[in-house]
Point group: C2
Chain length 172, copies 2
């Protein structure tokens, strides 16, 4: 049961994307009960220059999919990046989970030193090893955006507890 | 450069505790510039039934120290748990970082299947393996509390960017 690049990535991403989806279900139910537009929740930010909830969710999915896909050398799924409703975000999350579940442990294990070069839309590049991408970029950012999505909804008054954030570990 | 229980724990905890400490420095400077008591920031919560900043910081340090100490089988450092000022929280963070840096990689690597039983003050117990403790409990909670501490300060208007949250990777 040695820890491995796969074990510290895919099952973690799947677990927390699943809990994020369940948290959004509770947000939808809250909006309905309070008779507010769900977009009010999705547009909420904790500070004027922070991402609103809708972008926190998209960012979390991006970090998960990009990490898994780059480590495994798989083509990344594409998204419209215009998802603006809870059902659309749920679809995006479901697509990410399917993609991640389709990645084979063998394709990710052993990628610690794999050279990964990321080219940003600006043309700037950043070089990583598989390990530095996952440990120093993808996982912290993923957790940050999942936590902040939860924090925004707690701040809006949605009844959530830490258990909703944590979800249930995924069997691998 | 195989990933290991040490590499996914101690250097991560040290990196994000160091950045948390730097974030608190910025909070102290903000309070001084705005002529508000730092306790106003430390008592801020995102929801009435969430921990205020001071408890978010203590919780982050607890998860880091408890994980490192339990995996390594080291005596856990004790804290007053009454830290109520930014300097007191900084001292607590510094003490945690020193403790974590003192843990030897050999004492943590290979603890994937180590049986770890946690007895809570209520008398309830919870059993983990080293791997399940770290991946399914300590790391997600650690990141959650570090993210939420940052989110609270952003919500208060402290000028911070994602770079302040991320800090700098620790060489191991």
């Amino acid at each position: 049961m040695t820890v491995s690049m796969y074990k510290i990535s895919v099952p973690i991403f799947v677990q927390y994307l699943t809990s994020l989806s369940a948290v959004l279900d509770k947000a939808a139910a809250f909006a309905e009960a309070k008779k507010v537009e769900p977009s009010v929740l999705l547009d909420t930010r904790l500070a004027p220059d922070m991402f609103p909830l809708v972008r926190q969710v998209r960012a979390a999915t991006d970090h998960a999919v990009n990490a898994g896909g780059r480590l495994a050398g798989a083509d990344l799924p594409s998204f419209s990046n215009t998802e603006a409703t809870i059902p659309e975000l749920q679809d995006r999350i479901a697509k990410c989970i399917d993609f991640l579940k389709g990645l084979k442990p063998d394709a990710i294990d052993g990628t610690e030193d794999k050279e990964i070069k990321i080219v940003f839309p600006s043309g700037a590049t950043r070089e990583f090893t598989g390990q530095s991408l996952l440990l120093n970029n993808s996982l912290p950012n993923f957790y940050f955006h999942c936590s902040t999505a939860y924090d925004i909804l707690r701040h809006c008054g949605v009844e959530l507890g830490k258990r909703d954030f944590m979800g249930t570990p995924v069997k691998v």
